[in-house]
C-alpha cells in the first residue's frame, strides 16, 4: 500500500466496518480469523442507512462465506486476474468516481515515453539478473521541474490511458478461465462492488494473508489500491483497504522496526554503500527530492527545507526523525560533533537480503551462530519447515522466550525426526547429533504483565496486569532489560570503538524502589519522545528537531504521551467512551498513531473544496476546512497539514506521505520492484500454463531452491494453507489451551467430494500429502465446501491444510509447513504459503 498511499498500514479501523455499503472480503476469512469484524459488518447490515452487502471471494467456502450475501470461488494465486478484470470493468463502463480520481490520484500524470509493457514484461528487464531497471517508469517533467499532467485524460501517455490499455486484456471470459470463477458469480461481484463508485456510497476491502502470501503479494495489494482509488473509496468512513493483521501486536512490532529493512518509524535501515556513509548522505538518501540539492551539512539542509523541497511530502522531515532517534538511543554520546552517532547504527550489506527466508537459508548454510526466538515458532510457522528445523541444528546457541516449550524450543527432541513416509529428500537427526545449546526462558502471559499493543487499525491500547506470572516466569520487558544491563557490564571498560554503541546506549528503565520490573512508563517516555532540556514530552512530531534538542525512539508514536496538570499521561491508557460523530472513532479511547488519527487520508472524505461532503454522503465527512478559524478541523484528527488552506496549491493533495501528494495508481520510480502496474503471473508451482502473457512466474521473484520445484505431472493438486477460528497462528498459544484443543483437536486436510471419490478417501480417515519438500499425514475432512475448478478445458483440484499443528500441546498433528516452498514475494519476501502443488493418497 505504501507505494500507492505513502503508508502500509490498515487505513480505517475495525468499528468502521459498520459504515460501509459493500464489504469485499478477499484473501481473508474474517468470520474465523477476525471474528469481531463480523460484529461491525452485521451492524452495518441491520442499519437501514447502510444495508451493508458482504461479498466473499475465496478458493474455499468458509464460515465467512456462510454468512456473506455473495460467495464467489477463485483459484488460489489468481487475485490479480480477478481484480484486473474489475479494473477493466470499471474503466470500460465508466464507473469510476471522476471528481475523486482526478483530484486525489496521479491518474492524469504523464509517464515517460520509454515506458512499455510486452509479453508480460515491463520495460527495463534484465533477464540474467531477474531485475528491472526502472528508469523508464517515471513521470515526465516540464521545464520548471513540474510533473506534466493532462486533466482531460486524453494524452496517450497519461496514467489513465496506460491503465486502460494494460487491463483491456482482462475481459470477463479470460479472467474466469484463469480464476475458475463461475461467470455469473463473477459478474455479480463486479456489479455489486463497483456500485460503490457512486459518490454517495463507500466500499471497503478486507484482506489478510490470502493476499500477501504469494510471489505477487505486493502487487495483489497494489491491485486493491487501484480499485479503491478508481471507486473513490479511500480516506472515507466505510471505505479503505483494511489489512487485517494476524498477531495482536504485529503492527507494533513493525512500527518498532523488528524488520531488517527499516529502523523505527518506517525509515530505510542504512546500508554499507557510499550514499549511506555519513548522516548527511543518509538524510539525502531518505528525503524524497533531496538527491540533487546543494547541501553539505545539516545547517545548509535546514535552510533548503525551510524554502521547501518540491515533491518531498511529509518525509521532508526525515532528518528530525533520525536525529531524534539517535538521541533517544545514545543520549549524550550522540551530538552534532559526531554526526549524532550515526556511525553506531549497523549498516547492512546492500547486496544481501536478510528477510525470513534468507535468514533461514543462511542459518542452513551454517552462517549464523546465535538466534533469539521471541515468542515465535518457525518449526511450525516457517515455510519449508523441514529445512528450517534442520537449520536450527546448525546453530551454536539459541535463546527461546515463550510461555511453553514450543516445537521450536523442543526442535532437537522430535524423536528421530520421524516422517510419515521415508523421503530421501529429508534428513533425519537424533538429539545426540544436534550440537545446538538451547536456553529456554519462561515468559509471562499477556495479562500477567503490562504494556501496550497496536491493533490492526493502529489503535494503541494499554493492558494492565491482572495476575502474577506463573512460577518464575517473567515479562519479556524484564528479560530484555536484564540482558541489556548484563551486556553493558560485560563490555564495561572496553575502549574499542565497535563497543561504543553498547556502552553508550541509554538504558535507564529502573522501576520504583522495591520493584523488580523496569518502569514501563520510562520506556514509553523515550519511545514517544521528549525535550532534552527539561524532559517534558514532545506533544507531536511537528515539534521534533534535528539539532539534538529532542529525543524520540519512534517519531510515529510522538504525541502518545503528554503532561496534564503536571502529571505524565500515557494516552494508550485512556478509557473515555465518547463518540460524537457516531462513526465509531472514539477519539479518547486509547490512542492511535499517527497523532490519534483514526482514519488515515481522511482529507478525501470531503470534496476538493475542503468543505463540501461528497454528494449524498453528508454523514460520512471526517474532517473539513474551517475558513473562519483558518485551519482544518473535524471529527477525526486531519491527516493533513492543519494550516494548508485553499490558497495553497497543496490544498488538494491528501496523501501527505507521498512525494506527489496524490495517491499513485501508477507506481512510478520503482517503488515496487516488479512493475508499476500489477500483472497476473502464476504461482511458482502452478498446474496450468500462463494465459495472459508469456511469463509463468513473477519475473523478479527470487528462486532459492530451483530443484525443489514440484511439477504438475507428479503433483497435480493445488494446495493452500490457512487457519481456523479455534486456533491461532502456529497454534502454540491455542493448542496448549484445552478448551481450544477440544474444538479443533487434530490436523486436517479439506478436500472436495469429487477428489475424495477419485482418490478413494473417506471422511475422517488419514491421508498422506506429498511434495518435493516432504510428506505429512492429516485427517480427511471431505466437504461440499471445496469444489474442483474448471479452467477452460481443464479441471484442477485444490485442497486446504491447517498450518497450525505440531508435535506439542493438547492438540497435535503434522506440520503443514513441511510441505510449503521457500519462495516469496518479489518485494517483501513474504513466503508463498497460499498456492503450491502436491499429491495426496489414502494412508
Amino acid at each position: 500500500m505504501s507505494p500507492a498511499f505513502g503508508r502500509g498500514a490498515m487505513t480505517n479501523h475495525m468499528i468502521d466496518l459498520k459504515n460501509t455499503n459493500v464489504a469485499l472480503i478477499m484473501g481473508s476469512n474474517i468470520a474465523e480469523n477476525h471474528p469481531i469484524g463480523m460484529k461491525w459488518l452485521t451492524e452495518g447490515r441491520l442499519d437501514p442507512k447502510r444495508q451493508t452487502k458482504i461479498i466473499h471471494v475465496d478458493p474455499r467456502f468458509t464460515r465467512t462465506s456462510a454468512v456473506s450475501d455473495l460467495y464467489c470461488p477463485m483459484r488460489s494465486g489468481t487475485d490479480i486476474a480477478f481484480l484486473g478484470g474489475m479494473i477493466n470493468y470499471i474503466l470500460e463502463n465508466d464507473l469510476y468516481h471522476k471528481e475523486y480520481v482526478l483530484n486525489y490520484t496521479n491518474i492524469s500524470y504523464i509517464i515517460k515515453d520509454e515506458y512499455g509493457f510486452e509479453d508480460g514484461l515491463f520495460s527495463g528487464y534484465d533477464e540474467s539478473k531477474r531485475t528491472y531497471d526502472f528508469g523508464s517508469w517515471g513521470y515526465q517533467y516540464d521545464a520548471d521541474g513540474k510533473i506534466m499532467t493532462d486533466e482531460t485524460l486524453q494524452h496517450p501517455r497519461c496514467v489513465y490511458q496506460l491503465l486502460k490499455k494494460h487491463f483491456s486484456r482482462y475481459d470477463v471470459d479470460t479472467v474466469c478461465r484463469i480464476t475458475g470463477s463461475p461467470k455469473n458469480k463473477y459478474l455479480q461481484v463486479l456489479d455489486i462492488f463497483c456500485s460503490t463508485g457512486e459518490p454517495n456510497k463507500t466500499g471497503t476491502i478486507c484482506y489478510a494473508m490470502g493476499i500477501t502470501q504469494h510471489t505477487v503479494g505486493s502487487q495483489n495489494v497494489k491491485a486493491f489500491t487501484i480499485v479503491q482509488l478508481l471507486l473513490g473509496n479511500m480516506g472515507r468512513p466505510g471505505g479503505g483497504i483494511n489489512a487485517l493483521r494476524g498477531e495482536n501486536n504485529v503492527q507494533g512490532a513493525t512500527d518498532m522496526a523488528l524488520l531488517f529493512h527499516i529502523i523505527p518509524g518506517y525509515i530505510s535501515s542504512p546500508t554499507n554503500t557510499e550514499d549511506n556513509k555519513d548522516l548527511i548522505s543518509f538524510i539525502r538518501k531518505i528525503t524524497p527530492g533531496a538527491a540533487k540539492l546543494p547541501f553539505n551539512n545539516l545547517n545548509e539542509f535546514r535552510e533548503i527545507v525551510k524554502q521547501g523541497i518540491p515533491y518531498s511530502g511529509w518525509k521532508v522531515h526525515s532528518s528530525k526523525w533520525v536525529v531524534s532517534l539517535l538521541k533517544a538511543w545514545y543520549g549524550e554520546a550522540a551530538n552534532a560533533s559526531n554526526d549524532f552517532a550515526y556511525h553506531y547504527l549497523p549498516k547492512r550489506d546492500a547486496s544481501k537480503n536478510y528477510s525470513h527466508i534468507a535468514l533461514f537459508e543462511a542459518m542452513y548454510r551454517g552462517e549464523i551462530e546465535g538466534l533469539f526466538v521471541n515468542g515465535t515458532n518457525p518449526v511450525v510457522g516457517g515455510p519449508n519447515a523441514n529445512k528450517e528445523q534442520e537449520a536450527l541444528t546448525k546453530l551454536k546457541w539459541m535463546v527461546n522466550i515463550d510461555l511453553w516449550r514450543t516445537e521450536t524450543a523442543d526442535f532437537w527432541t522430535y524423536p528421530g525426526w520421524d516422517r510419515a513416509v521415508d523421503n530421501p529428500n529429508v534428513n533425519t537427526y537424533a538429539p545426540t547429533n544436534i550440537g545446538t545449546e538451547v536456553f529456554f526462558l519462561p515468559a509471562a502471559a499477556v495479562y500477567e504483565k503490562e504494556g501496550t499493543a497496536a491493533q490492526t487499525g493502529r489503535w494503541v491500547q494499554f493492558r494492565w496486569k491482572g495476575a502474577d506470572p506463573v512460577g518464575e516466569s517473567k515479562a519479556d520487558l524484564w528479560i530484555y532489560d536484564e540482558l541489556g544491563k548484563r551486556l553493558k557490564q560485560l563490555y564495561a571498560g572496553s575502549n574499542r570503538p565497535e563497543d561504543e554503541p553498547i556502552l553508550n546506549m541509554t538504558w535507564e528503565y529502573e522501576g520504583h524502589a522495591g520493584e523488580e520490573e523496569p518502569d514501563i512508563l520510562k520506556v514509553a517516555h523515550e519511545l514517544c519522545g521528549f525535550h532534552i532540556a527539561d524532559g517534558t514530552p514532545v506533544e507531536g512530531f511537528a515539534q521534533l528537531k534535528d539539532d539534538g534538542s529532542t529525543a524520540c525512539g519512534n517519531w510515529i508514536y510522538c504525541g502518545g504521551t503528554t503532561l496534564k496538570d503536571g502529571k505524565f499521561i500515557y494516552k494508550p491508557q485512556l478509557r473515555e467512551k465518547d463518540d460524537p460523530s457516531g462513526l465509531g472513532l472514539f477519539p479518547n479511547w486509547g490512542w492511535a498513531w499517527p497523532v490519534n488519527r483514526r482514519v488515515i487520508y481522511n482529507r478525501c472524505s470531503v470534496q476538493p473544496d475542503g468543505v463540501t461532503p461528497w454528494p449524498g454522503d453528508e454523514d460520512r465527512r471526517l474532517v473539513w476546512w474551517d475558513a473562519e478559524a483558518g485551519g482544518w478541523t473535524g471529527w477525526d484528527v486531519p491527516d493533513f497539514i492543519k494550516s494548508v488552506g485553499p490558497d495553497n496549491p497543496a490544498f488538494k493533495d491528501p496523501f501527505i506521505m507521498r512525494p506527489e501528494g496524490k495517491a499513485c495508481i501508477f507506481a512510478a520510480d520503482g517503488s515496487l520492484i516488479d512493475g508499476p502496474l500489477p500483472e497476473h503471473y502464476e504461482p511458482w508451482e502452478s498446474p496450468v500454463p500462463p494465459v495472459l502473457n508469456k511469463q509463468s512466474l513473477n519475473p523478479v521473484a527470487k528462486v532459492w531452491e530451483p530443484d525443489k520445484k514440484g511439477t504438475s505431472d507428479k503433483y497435480p493438486i493445488i494446495a493452500t494453507t490457512y487457519r481456523v477460528c479455534e486456533h491461532w497462528q502456529s497454534g502454540s498459544l491455542t493448542r496448549n489451551l484445552p478448551w481450544l484443543a477440544e474444538l479443533m483437536p487434530d490436523m486436517l486436510i479439506e478436500l472436495s467430494e469429487e477428489l475424495a471419490k477419485e482418490k478413494g478417501i473417506k471422511n475422517g480417515r488419514e491421508v498422506i500429502i506429498s511434495t518435493t519438500r516432504g510428506d505429512i499425514k492429516a485427517i480427511a475432512c471431505v466437504t461440499k465446501r471445496f469444489k474442483p475448478f474448471v479452467l477452460g478445458d481443464d479441471i484442477v483440484h485444490q485442497i486446504g491444510l491447517l498450518w497450525q499443528f505440531g508435535f506439542k500441546g493438547y492438540a497435535k498433528g503434522d506440520i503443514a509447513n513441511r510441505l510449503t516452498p521457500h519462495i516469496g514475494d518479489a518485494n517483501t519476501m513474504c513466503p508463498e504459503y497460499k498456492a503450491w502443488l502436491c499429491d495426496i493418497r489414502r494412508a
Binding site: I36, G37, E247, N248, N249, V250, A253, T254, D255, M256, L258, F260, N272, R348, D349, H356, L359, E369, G370, L371, N374, T376, G381, V399, L403, W404, R405, W412, G435, T436, E437, V438, F439, F440, A445, V446, Y447, E450, T456, F462, R463, G466, A467, V470, G471, K474, D476, Y480, E498, I502, A524, E526, N554, R575, H727, W728, N736, L737, P738, W739
Partner: protein, 203 residues
C-alpha cells in the same frame, strides 16, 4: 430470597468506567436457592487486550490476588467497556483463562495449566534432556554467548566505512510482545549490530 439489582462492579485500574449491565426493566427474583452466588461480585476487573488476532478486543481479568498467595483466576471475559468488542469474545478470547489455569478433566479442579513452564530450562549441546537453571546463570551465560559470537564476527568497517554489524546473530519474532518490549528488543539488537532482525510481519 429477594434479589435486587446491583449497583455495579467498577472497572478501576488507571481509569474509571462502568460495567455494562443489561436493563431488565424489573427486579429478578430468585426462586431457587441452588443458584450460586456470582463469583465475581465485588471483584475489581483488570482490563487487558486479547493476545490473539490484531482486532484489539478488550478483555477483563477477575482474579483473587492476595499478598503472599498465588493468584487464582475467577474469570477472564470480554470487556464491555471496550468499544471495539463491547464485551464480546470469540472462542480464542473466551479461552484466555486457559492461558494460565485450566479445569482438570478428571477431577474438575482448577489448576495452573500444566503446559506452562515455571523455570528457565537449559539444554547442553548433544544432550538428550532439559535441565532447570536459575535466572542468574541463564542470563549471564546468554550475555556471554552473545558477546563471544559478536566479538568473533564483528565487522567494524568495510571499504573505509564504519558498518558496525554482525551477521552471526539473528533475532526473530516479537509480534506477540508489547510495544515497549519490541522497542527495547530493537534498540538492543541494533546496538549489538544485528542485521538479521525479523518479525512475523514477514511471514
Amino acid at each position: 430470597m429477594k434479589v435486587t439489582r446491583r449497583q455495579f462492579l467498577k472497572v478501576t485500574g488507571a481509569t474509571a468506567a462502568s460495567f455494562a449491565v443489561i436493563n431488565l426493566g424489573f427486579d429478578t427474583q430468585a426462586t431457587a436457592a441452588s443458584i450460586k452466588e456470582l463469583r465475581i461480585k465485588n471483584v475489581t476487573p483488570v482490563p487487558t487486550v486479547c493476545p490473539y488476532c490484531a482486532s484489539g478486543c478488550g478483555l477483563v481479568v477477575y482474579a483473587e490476588r492476595q499478598e503472599g498467595k498465588e493468584t487464582q483466576l475467577l474469570s477472564v471475559q470480554g470487556d464491555p467497556d471496550n468499544p471495539i468488542n463491547e464485551g464480546c469474545a470469540c472462542p480464542k478470547g473466551a479461552a484466555m483463562f486457559n492461558l494460565r489455569e485450566i479445569y482438570d478433566p478428571h477431577t474438575g479442579e482448577q489448576v495452573i495449566n500444566p503446559k506452562r513452564e515455571k523455570k528457565p530450562l537449559y539444554r547442553a549441546p548433544y544432550s538428550t534432556k532439559w535441565e532447570e537453571k536459575d535466572w542468574e546463570w541463564m542470563l549471564q551465560t546468554i550475555a556471554e554467548r552473545v558477546k563471544e559470537t559478536r566479538d568473533n564476527s564483528f565487522i567494524h568497517s568495510e571499504n573505509g566505512m564504519i558498518v558496525n554489524r554482525t551477521e552471526k546473530i539473528a533475532s526473530i519474532g516479537g509480534s506477540g510482545l508489547d510495544n515497549e518490549e519490541c522497542y527495547l528488543l530493537a534498540k538492543l539488537m541494533r546496538s549489538l549490530g544485528v542485521v538479521y532482525l525479523e518479525t512475523q510481519a514477514r511471514i
